[in-house]
Symmetry: C2
Subunit: 143 residues, 2 copies
DNA sequence: CGTTTCACTTTCATATTTAAAGTGATAATC
DNA sequence: GATTATCACTTTAAATATGAAAGTGAAACG
């Protein structure tokens, strides 16, 4: 009666030993990298915040992607209160390292897809190699 | 009786103005970038060659992805003989520019997915900014 | 006690993917 | 010259994933 929740990514055997194929098995869809984008660039931490994306991700898809990212060790679910139990999501170094991929996707998109907005100058640089470092204090509650 | 073949990518309206979202609408799946990989790094040009991928792409998927890439202006289908009409596939500059994204995906995969093979040293550099330049002559048939 | 909010989960219709077989135009073999 | 093979796809049917919407449980609010 459970549901095994083993959508590849887990211990299913690989399609090949190609780093591209294996990476696509983890992030090769239309939503995963948007979640990472929000966690990384928008510094969203809560489920409700992640639901606010411009692309209107559906609740079931978001929940499933968060679970996948967590299972793959790219995301951590950290409890920050009891009653009701609530947690925040944070990228691990593995997840935050997707930054380099995201950066090139942004560059390509801005160059070839008309109408896409470019991040303000210098914006990406600020995430360059410290993406996983704590932001300011640990900042909670008050935006 | 036709089939409109308008799987997003075409003139469907966008999810947002985010370059990541828009790029994912073009390449955000498990196969498209593998096709680009073969065209770019393996220098495959024919349908039959592309079918040989380690990941065993299905014929219908390959055909559909080639069509999508072509519709999106990332790929050109160039006839090289009549009777029977045959063509080769070549990336346009837009398609070849996916190189930067691929390179970061390879880097990430090699770093975080155990068992993935890394390209030989210097291999990627040779594609750096001349990815679209004609390779050698135009080489056909032999080799 | 009744209504809200938050963080999901469930359900169900639709869309995409997988797997496998089929098709049409030649080219090669018997 | 009929049979078989090859290439480049297409079609079909079943399995899986996604999209849209409604539902759930545990507080917190009024």
């Amino acid at each position: 009666m459970k549901k095994i929740l083993a959508t590849a990514a887990a211990g299913d055997f690989e399609r090949s030993d190609c780093p591209i194929a294996n990476t696509l098995d983890l992030i090769g869809d239309k939503w995963t990298l948007l979640v990472v984008r929000d966690l990384l660039f928008q510094e969203k931490r809560l489920y409700g915040e992640l639901m606010q994306s411009q692309e209107k991700v559906r609740s079931n898809i978001l929940a499933e992607r968060l679970k996948r990212l967590e299972n793959a060790g790219m995301l951590e679910k950290i409890p920050y209160q009891q009653n009701p139990l609530r947690h925040e999501y944070r990228l691990t170094p593995k997840g935050a390292d997707l930054f380099a991929i995201l950066k090139e996707i942004i560059r390509w998109g801005n160059k070839y897809v008309p109408g896409t907005t470019a991040p303000p100058a210098g914006f990406l640089d600020s995430f360059e190699k410290q993406a996983t470092v704590e932001k300011k204090k640990t900042r909670r509650k008050g935006s």
